[in-house]
């Protein structure tokens, strides 16, 4: 048997019916390699609009001989995403998307969502935390 090891892994995952989605209490994003940015293209399966972290699940297209794969893309909370202009309907099942993500260091199909484009409309969506500035011209405190 001269099986592609990735294919075997994919079959095992499919057989188990499971993929890993990173999710937990609020946590450091250091499990993601933020020095890396990769692009995935595929179809939205679900936007889990939940605290403490929202998770966008997409089925990435087969590419470079790899089979289609389910990816879980984590970002911040519904509250903080609302401030960036998201709603629970920003992504819906079936939407074609292209996303820029920082992958998990452990090689599992999970990543930190950086930004994305809804391919049917061209709408761009950015993840993360809102940046806030004082509007009272206060100098940085010196303490």
């Amino acid at each position: 048997m001269n099986q592609n090891p990735f294919k075997v892994f994919a079959l095992v995952v499919l057989a188990l019916g499971l993929v890993a989605a990173p999710i937990f209490a609020h946590h450091s994003a250091a499990m993601y390699d933020t020095s890396k940015k990769i692009t995935l293209e595929g179809v939205v399966k679900e936007l889990a609009w939940t605290n403490p972290h929202v998770v966008l699940t997409i089925i990435a297209n087969a590419k470079d001989g790899q089979p289609a794969q389910t990816w879980s893309l984590e970002t911040t909370s519904p509250g903080n995403l609302t401030r960036l202009g998201w709603t629970k309907r920003t992504f819906k099942a079936g939407d074609k998307v292209k996303v820029l993500v920082s992958p998990l260091r452990n090689g599992k199909p999970g990543a930190w969502f950086v930004s994305g484009v809804l391919l049917d409309t061209g709408k761009e969506v950015v993840g993360g935390l809102p940046t806030v500035e004082p509007d009272d011209d206060e100098p940085d405190h010196k303490k």
Binding site: H26, P52, G79, V132, D136
Partner: protein, 296 residues
Amino acid sequence: MSSTFAGEIRAGCSRRVRCAAANLLGWVFVGLAVFPAASRSHAQQAPEAINPPPTAKDWTELAKLPDWSGIWFPDLADQRRQVAGNPPPWTEAAAAQVRELVQQERAGHPKLIFSGCLPESMPAWMLVSHNAMEILFTPGRVTLLGESDSNRLRRIYTDGRKHPEDPDLTFHGHSIAHWEGDVLVVDTVGIRPQTFIAVSEAVGLPNNGDLHVVERIHLAGPNTLHDELEITAPHLLTRPWKTTRIFYRQRQRKFDIVEGICLEASFTEAKDKYGNAILVPVPHDEEGIKITPSPK
């Protein structure tokens, strides 16, 4: 009245034996009279504390306080600058553990110090939060309500009460405060030893007990709030740590605090056999990673 009656019994005696008996009887009356009085006097010294209904004047007085309305969002860049420029004065033993945690995070294996959806607690909430809060003034109270952690809450009493002598230890401690001009001076004790003094969501150590936090909270500009903290943690820090955290006021409604039930994502929507909408736990692997079913 009873003791007067006892005195009359004693005054009315004419023979030594009768007098002795009368005296005894008299003192019994005195005792009967005094004992309930003593009980009443004790009750007067330590009446059961109540929260009196606020008066119209109490509500009016609130209008004289500085305006802290709106939503306050932390300056995250300044949190990092503070930690870099003014780190906690860790004990030698603590510093070694902190170095290890920093290495772990840099290696991509961050310790999940706020795992299990326990609250960030005091003082980590004020130090490293990425989330918004609002501040409510009511008579005798200042209340801090934060987003995330199943909604954070600090009750700060401004009604002049003292700390309990032996407070139950809690995640946010027992806070009392008074106003010094426009500065709210908050004193917090009774914090659980397990709460973290944190410099990030992956680097922090349990305070290990006897934690005391004093905060001077005040407007530093029209829309800038400073929380000047002095953290005394004798089992973790070599000296009290003074550090300031900055929050910026947001008035856009998109900043309104939303519900943040931390365990929400640990459950998924389902239907029971009767068709009721229910939540069921989702499995997690040993690293706390949620396991979701793959597409059909």
